[in-house]
């Protein structure tokens, strides 16, 4: 018999996982919405965030400092990628962009394997967040709750900035109509770079936070990339709200699926995606930021 406590544990775990996926998918969706670029190397920044994070925790001996440093370093890497590789491709076809970003993802995965090896590496939860608490009888690791809180807070902050600030209106304007936004006086390449780097930083943050839960290994990049792509497609390309709800749905589906029907867990996801694409090709949510 499946107990209520076990269900609650899987639910909370699934939500935490879903929020990590949301942070990844949010960047993917923003970058796609704004630049019309499908960034297939997005999952690589998640993985690299995990690897660099593990290394830096060893060096800096502080989880929090390492988190900050990791996000900054990976963001810088994102800036280099944007300026050197992506920028020349903005006005090229989707196929060119897919080939380039896919190639970059393969290189980064091989590079990671070369530097860090193929072994699954894990990150210890920081002292302050160790242990578990009991919620309605269910035992939930404190760290999962922290991930939940961080995901909700970041998601809310993202929503606030996009919907309630002038910077947000500039970004939404750029998503809707680049040329008009340029003609109104905005430097589109700089805004693009900013959005790209921000998306990469979110991916690195998510990758770091996920390291104690998922572990880090070459291959993780494509595994999360595919989930993020599914989220963005089902949620509606360019809809952040859509990405949010679908991330939670997928996180929870995965968590229950792995617990109760491990053989079918991945299959269920693809089934959902196929059904959505057939019934609502534009995704569940209309594209309108956020």
């Amino acid at each position: 018999m499946i107990s209520f406590e076990a269900l609650l544990t899987h639910l909370l775990n699934g939500l935490a996982y879903g929020l990590l996926l949301f942070l990844l998918a949010a960047g993917l969706s923003l970058i796609f919405g704004m630049m019309d670029v499908i960034n297939l190397s997005h999952g690589s920044f998640f993985m690299i965030g995990g690897f660099i994070g593990i290394g830096l925790v060893g060096v800096l001996e502080s989880f929090w400092l390492a988190l900050l440093a990791t996000v900054l370093i990976v963001a810088l890497l994102g800036l280099v990628v944007e300026v050197a590789l992506l920028r020349p491709l903005y006005y090229r076809s989707h196929l060119d962009q897919i080939l380039l970003t896919f190639g970059l993802a393969l290189i980064l995965e091989d590079g990671a394997e070369w530097i860090w090896g193929t072994r699954i590496q894990s990150l210890r939860v920081p002292e302050a967040l160790t242990g578990s608490v009991e919620i309605f009888g269910a035992v939930v690791p404190v760290y999962r709750l922290a991930v939940l809180a961080a995901g909700v807070l970041l998601g809310a902050a993202l929503w606030y900035v996009l919907e309630r600030t002038r910077l947000g209106s500039i970004i939404r304007a750029g998503v809707a109509d680049r040329e008009m936004t340029a003609a109104l006086g905005f430097n589109i390449p700089v805004i693009f770079a900013g959005v790209f780097v921000f998306g990469v930083a979110l991916a690195a943050f998510a990758g770091f936070m996920a390291a104690p839960i998922l572990g880090v290994y070459p291959g993780l990049d494509f595994q999360v990339l595919i989930l993020a792509l599914i989220i963005v497609v089902i949620g509606g390309l360019g809809s952040l709200t859509g990405a949010f709800w679908v991330s939670l749905l997928i996180g929870v589906t995965q968590s229950f699926g792995q617990a109760y029907f491990p053989a079918a867990a991945a299959f269920i996801l693809y089934l959902i995606m196929a059904a959505v694409l057939l019934l609502r090709p534009e995704g569940l949510f209309k594209r309108r930021y956020a």
Binding site: I170, A176, A182, A183
Partner: protein, 229 residues
Amino acid sequence: MLELRDVHAHYGSSHILQGVSLRVGAGEVVALLGRNGVGKTTTIRAITGLISVSRGEILFKDTPIQDEPPYRRARMGMGLVPQGRGIYPNLSVREQLLLPPDRNGRWSLQEIYALFPILRERRRHAGDQLSGGEQQMLAIARALRSNPELLLLDEPSEGLAPMMVKRVGEVLQDIKRQELSILLVEQNLSLALSVADRVYIMNKGVIVHECPAAELAQDEETQHRLLGV
């Protein structure tokens, strides 16, 4: 204010602008007329920098700007009301009015709402919830918000009901009194002639006729020959 000297531009391999030369003086309202597809919008895009100029020169306030990116031209004082209005479907009216970078001048939000009361009423509505006429008012108002010295309008009456066309004419008269320089592309000849001081007529990528607006109003032969009216 604005001067184009022998401006050429291409879309891919098609040579669209084949040596356009025109001038808009300070405080002057100039209409650019011509049949469908002769290159009027392309001329506006060349001025704003949305298409690059392959030959020739564009001077804005006596500075060559043909190599400046669009955003810098806008910040120098160019306002654009594009063909199709360029309204953001996903931003509210108020957000769109607050979007243009601050260049000090008289067009505060209050001033805009006084000229366009309908926009105050609709300020919380998203762009795609507005009627065509309201969208056109918003497009003009948004361009004014950056306090431009030169206003570029590309077919502001296109697709509007006669009542709204009349309203656009009144608004343009109002704006004209603010000593703004205006380059107006229009297919509606009577609207163009009612606000313009001078007109250029374009055909196949070059200017083929130039005269005071009052003169074209009398010259039915030219109207017929170059505009098909």
